[in-house]
């Protein structure tokens, strides 16, 4: 925490007099402003969603890597933090994207004609 042990963080501290947390804070503030502004540019909803998602991911990285100092800590902690996202993806695939209205009927590629007739 703040010991600037990694190279570029020490350089940043000398050059600008402020450590990596200050710049991370400013970085996040700027991106929040961008995010709020993006909504008022009346782009098509696809573009707004893309803008919001990308800004969201950038801010997510900013907080997780620097405020939660995953960048400086052992790699095992990052593994612990990322591991549940596999199950969040499974949850999304199973629950979020299979709405009754979402997908109807079997796609052709996966319903082979029934070969053996079942009547005895």
């Amino acid at each position: 925490m703040g010991e600037h042990q990694t190279g570029w963080q020490k350089a940043l501290y000398e050059k600008t007099g402020q450590d990596v947390y200050f710049w991370n804070f400013v970085f996040l503030m700027v991106f929040t402003a961008i995010e709020v502004g993006a909504v008022y540019l009346s782009l098509t909803y696809g573009a707004t969603v893309f803008a919001l998602v990308s800004v969201g991911i950038v801010k997510f990285f900013g907080i997780a890597a620097f405020f939660m100092h995953l960048w400086d800590d052992e790699r095992e902690l990052t593994y612990t933090f990322v591991f549940p996202f596999i199950f969040v993806v499974i949850l999304f695939l199973g629950i979020a994207f299979t709405t009754p209205g979402g997908v109807a009927g079997l796609p052709a590629w996966c319903s082979p004609e029934f070969i053996g007739s079942y009547s005895p």
């Binding site: 790699r75 095992e76 593994y79 549940p84 199950f87 499974i90 949850l91 199973g94 629950i95 299979t98 709405t99 009754p100 979402g102 997908v103 109807a104 009927g105 079997l106 796609p107 996966c110 079942y118």
Partner: protein, 777 residues
């Protein structure tokens, strides 16, 4: 003069007694809530709440009632309401009303009263125009089952007609209603020589059984306390002893708390099971009413899974994991104690409704549109408390989940590397990881359900565009990993027990660990097979079918590994070995019957029939319960220092094994014949014979558990003493003294390794270090 510490002790006692009083008061507060939408659901015993004014001078007369009814004939009943000092509006309109209920038989209007009376959900009442008179004629057709007593309840209401023309709000003031009750025995009930035994109200039976159980339990507590130090047997000693248990954070004492809690609820769950098995013994039985049957099977399911199976697993995990990995205690001792107390208090909420006859009747899967419905036909009043109890269970399991994962990851003694850990620890680790990652889906679904029932949100409400299948998805995303959480520890126990009894190391340790990990991952992508016929969209059904088929493979690998362990061993038949072999037989049968469900053609028939009940009882009772019984006989000597009696154990095994198969094997046949699940009665006579056989063996199985209870209590003092390693096991828990010291290891042991191998390089990434079992420092 009372010393300082004595004084301190005094107000400690005051605090304990205060907590105890709050605890008892809360559990006993009645739950009877009547809805503004009309009479509470126990059909009309408390009069009609829609009109103000108690049973004043109104009299209700019903004539034409026979003294005993003949099946199938219809009787003309004439209901008249009279109240001299309340005249209707101009004596011609808006004068009176009535509401007639009968516990059986059907109603219809008298000849020229067709438009003056209307049949309404299980009873008969006046219509709009029927309101203008005070006597009505209705026809009651008796049911053809004459061997019962039919109870009649009539609410008569003399109306003063001030509702005519003005706002209806205060229209019902000033009216006076009263209730008339009568009961007509059937011809067979009276004449047929059947002595008319007073029908025991099943709720009284359940509550009496539970309170008797708790009284017995506290008596046993005081007795065990007395036996500890007969001379210290005074109130101060008792409160001191109670304080030790209420504030303990030691993993062994919390383990004992978990075990006693889970054993008590195993018996209570059994009581509910036996009660509704009596109800299902014969066709068209009415030992339990429908509400009681529904809330009994709901509580049986929830109690057995959440309050019996998981706490017993937690009991053995608490006791054995720190000993097996050579740790002094769990990573976070107080979080461990909190996990237990959250569970203990959640049982008060879960059982809150039962005391008032309004137990939750929404099945343990709590499917959404019904479970969040209020009102007359909806879920009962106790459901809100039940759902709050489930939320507390979620908190308790999350706390113990983080505790066990942290302990196994961080506090293994030197020498106990990942690939040299006992298989029971591996199974608890994988089980807790699965529970820990799947539980939030249940907590979120239950929180949505809880808010739907309390503050009026509309998550699963189709009327506002919501989707009821969201609950099924959220519940089963947790549900399927949950059933693996319940079975994996039993796998761990059987691996330990078979290896020790056959006096050989487990066959294929690494493939067993891989099979555990395989089940752990596959468990998360198969939940759809619980919902194949619930209107999920077809592509997802296909995916779920394919993945469910794959799950059988790792389980098959494990079963063959257990069999290979016996190869070349010298198998000794202790009771725990018998239970492990019983596990192998029944669990394999359950696993095979489980393969019938992923198939579309079979599942559309088998879903929600008794074939499902047979399958999961074979896997849960045959798997988890037999595994846990094996664990009790195997680790009781380590915990108490005395062995359980082998003869009683053998008797318990034989009776329970036969009774278990006798109870659950015929259910496969009932399932194939299409008997639906959760049915209060069935009128298909061909099922009666199988069902009564099931009931008979279920009762035998239920009472057989008392042998184990007696064995545990007796051996605590009179069991044969045993040393550090009574069965010849190899893992670290057999190196400490039988009741291990507190903290469990004074200095951390080191586990040697019999496999002679050259010392690998200590480098390499995390995964290679885990695989090669080499520690960095």
């Amino acid at each position: 003069m009372v010393k300082g510490s004595e004084l301190m002790n005094k107000n400690k006692i005051r605090v304990i007694s205060l907590l105890f009083v709050i605890f008892i008061a809360l559990a006993a507060t009645p739950q009877m809530t009547s809805y503004p939408t009309g009479v509470n659901r126990a059909n009309g015993t408390t009069g009609c709440a829609c009109h103000s004014g108690g049973a004043g001078t109104t009299t209700v007369i019903v004539d034409g009632m026979p003294d005993s009814f003949v099946g199938g004939t219809s009787y003309e009943l004439n209901i008249t309401i009279s109240n001299p000092n309340i005249a209707g509006a101009e004596l011609s309109s808006n004068m009176g009303g009535f509401r007639l209920f009968a516990t059986d038989g059907t109603f219809s209007a008298g000849e020229n009263y067709t438009d003056l009376v209307q049949v309404m959900d299980g009873g008969i009442t006046h219509t709009e125009s029927g309101n203008d008179m005070r006597s009505w004629v209705v026809v009651w057709t008796a049911p053809d089952n004459e061997g019962q007593i039919v109870d009649f309840t009539v609410h008569g209401n003399a109306v003063n007609g001030n509702a005519v023309g003005n706002i209806p709000a205060d229209g019902n003031s000033g009216d006076k209603w009263s209730t008339f009750q009568a009961s007509i025995p059937g011809a067979a009930a009276l004449g047929g020589g059947a002595i008319l035994i007073e029908q025991a109200e099943p709720y009284e039976v359940a509550i009496a059984a539970i309170t008797f159980g708790i009284a017995l339990f506290s008596l046993m507590l005081v007795y065990v306390f007395y036996r500890n130090n007969p001379d210290g047997f005074n109130l101060n000693g008792l409160t001191e002893w109670l304080k030790k248990w209420m504030t303990t954070t030691d993993h062994k004492e919390v383990g004992t708390l978990y075990f006693v809690f889970s054993f008590l609820f195993l018996l209570i769950g059994g009581i509910f099971a036996m009660l509704f098995r009596l109800q299902l013994a014969v066709a068209d039985n009415d030992f339990l009413t429908q509400d009681q049957y529904n809330s009994f099977f709901t509580l049986h399911g929830t109690t057995m899974i959440f309050l019996a199976a998981m706490p017993m697993i937690a009991a053995f995990a608490n006791w054995i994991i720190p000993l097996q990995i050579g740790a002094k205690d769990l990573a976070f001792p107080r979080v461990n104690a909190m996990g237990f107390w959250m569970l203990a208090f959640s049982s008060v909420l879960l059982y809150g409704g039962v005391m008032s006859g309004e137990g939750a009747d929404i099945t343990w899967t709590m499917y959404a549109p019904f479970s969040n419905s209020l009102g007359e036909k909806g879920a009962s009043a106790g459901t809100t408390l039940f759902v709050a109890g489930i939320i507390m269970l979620g908190i308790s399991s999350t706390l113990s989940g983080v505790n066990f994962i942290a302990t196994v990851m961080t506090m293994r003694a030197p020498g106990v590397t990942w690939m040299k850990m006992p298989l029971f620890t591996w199974s608890i680790f994988v089980a807790n990881a699965m529970l820990y990652l799947s539980l939030p889906a249940l907590i979120i679904g239950t929180v949505y359900l809880y808010f739907d029932r309390t503050i009026g949100t509309h998550f699963y409400d189709a009327a506002v565009g919501g989707d009821p299948i969201l609950w099924a998805h959220l519940f089963w995303y947790f549900g399927h990993p949950e059933v693996y959480v319940v079975i994996l520890p039993a796998f761990g126990v059987v691996s330990e027990v078979l290896s020790t009894s056959a006096k050989r190391s487990i066959f294929g340790y690494k493939s067993m660990v891989y099979a555990l990990a395989g089940i752990g991952v596959l468990g998360f992508i198969v939940w759809g097979h619980h919902m194949l016929t619930s209107g999920m969209d077809p592509t997802f059904r296909l995916i779920m079918m394919l993945t469910t088929m794959l799950v059988a493979i790792p389980t098959g690998v494990k079963i063959f590994n257990w069999l290979a362990t016996l190869w070349g061993g010298s198998l000794v038949f202790k009771t725990h070995t018998l239970w492990a072999l019983g596990f192998l037989v029944t669990f394999t049968m359950g696993g095979i019957s489980g393969m019938f469900f992923p198939v579309a053609g079979l599942d559309t028939h088998f879903h929600d029939t008794y074939f499902v009940v047979a399958h999961f009882h074979y896997v849960l009772v045959g798997g988890t319960l037999f595994g846990m019984f094996s664990a009790i006989y195997y680790w009781y000597p380590k915990a108490v220092g005395r062995k359980l009696d082998e003869k009683l154990g053998l008797l318990h095994f034989i009776i329970t094994f036969i009774a278990m198969n006798g109870t659950f094997w015929p259910m496969h046949q009932l399932g194939i014949e299409g008997m639906p699940r959760r049915y209060h009665t069935y009128s298909v006579d061909s099922w009666s014979e199988l069902n009564s056989f099931i009931t008979m063996s279920a009762l035998i199985m239920g009472f057989a558990q008392l042998i184990l209870t007696w064995n545990i209590i007796r051996s605590y003092k009179y069991g044969e003493k045993c040393g550090k390693d009574p069965w010849g096991g190899w893992s670290l828990e057999w190196t400490t003294t039988s009741p291990p010291p507190t903290p469990s290891f004074h200095e951390i042991p080191t586990q040697e390794d019999d496999n002679l191998h050259h010392v690998e390089s200590t480098g390499g990434g995390m995964f290679s270090r885990m695989w090669k079992g080499v520690e960095p420092k």
